[in-house]
Symmetry: C2
């Protein structure tokens, strides 16, 4: 009946009321000089889809975003950052008191060891750029976790599932979303994705090709159920 449908919809719509959700999205830029930088292909679409869906499920959403060309979803508190270091600082600053933390950002794991305030002149011949590791944000979140439900992402071209399970355990996550970027319709840039969700109990859910909006909604709904079961 119509009444039943409305009730179900109501319960879906309300499922994150009173919850605080922190989402990271987009790439980071690691400067070599005022013109050149290292970055990656993330467009932020997956993270922004999570932010939009979490807000429409009633959550209080904080979105910490690298440089992307997307509009802030309605009702979402957005903080812009550029480098991995800025992302690290802002995420840790807002970590406490969150109920769900979803780290979709594709944070650079290396940055140039030295960055210049004026443009480097090009020279003939080769150039060696010394790179150093950035802070591992997900690892830090796993270490400082209290009651947050922490969801990581993995984008791998080789043995994605095996790699993801190791990452889940090593970084003390509650779940990981595995993104096989070598599959058509999955990963960076597009409006669709194909992923596998793995939780700490070892349960796997395969999500077939669907829009990132759809996927964000389905995964959030599943996370809500996991929270209820605890």
């Amino acid at each position: 009946t119509i009444v039943r449908v409305l009730e179900e919809q109501e319960s879906i719509e309300q499922s994150l009321v009173g919850k605080r959700v922190l989402i990271t999205a987009g790439p980071t830029k690691e400067k070599v000089d005022p013109v050149r930088f290292f970055t990656n292909h993330s467009t932020g679409k997956m993270g922004y889809a999570f932010a939009k869906q979490a807000a429409s499920l009633g959550a209080e959403v904080t979105l910490i975003s690298g440089p992307v060309s997307l509009d802030t979803p309605r009702g979402v508190y957005r903080i812009d950052v550029e480098s991995a270091q800025e992302m690290y600082e802002k995420v840790l600053e807002h970590y406490e008191n969150q109920d769900i933390v979803i780290k979709t950002a594709a944070v650079a794991d290396y940055r140039p060891k030295k960055s210049y305030s004026t443009k480097i002149k090009k020279q003939s011949g080769e150039l060696e750029v010394k790179m150093e590791r950035t802070n591992d944000i997900l690892k830090a979140l796993g270490q400082h976790k209290t009651s947050q439900f922490l969801v990581g992402f993995a984008a791998e071209t080789t043995n994605p599932l095996e790699f993801a399970k190791q990452k889940l355990e090593k970084k003390n996550l509650d779940a990981i979303v595995v993104n096989n970027i070598s599959q058509e319709g999955a990963g960076f840039g597009g409006d669709t994705n194909i992923v596998t969700y793995i939780n700490g109990k070892g349960e796997q859910i395969n999500y077939p090709l669907q829009s990132k909006e759809e996927l964000a909604k389905n995964i959030l709904q599943h996370v809500v159920n996991e929270l209820k079961d605890e």
Copy 2:
């Protein structure tokens, strides 16, 4: 009188009819692996403004564009490229028979010497990325120039005018547009620019702060006058 105004407008509108204009725009991406790459801050706005204005002045416009998130201006033939090498090949392929060539693209001058088809696993400690020079597109255009009017761009933080004059001569350009990226309102990303135009006769025109659209129109109009004077 109204008639006179209309006539003037007509003559501006028609000033590039029968002319072929080649414009390059945007950054290039130089891959390290399927996820990571080197690039720069160019958004392509300056080049797309030139393409739009040249088309509206009646020219047959070819736009060779790096990865940007801009719509193709009406009536413009657009060719998408990603790397400096692709840009080099496409530009040379379309160089012959052009009347005006404006190279606004911020082409990477270095690329990783080796690029990987699967994602590099991060390791502890430092990483050295060996970079090699890409082909110098503007230099090649200067060398192969027949009757094209060749306009280069320079974006410098230190001694921009002096550097630009050297570049104009060394690369056999007909004019160079100097972009002092350290000035507020100039350079990458924004909708405005502040530039100095220098031609082969050593004439300098300073264009104060204005929209990139306005600037493209003013510079094109000036180039048309230079062509007439020849």
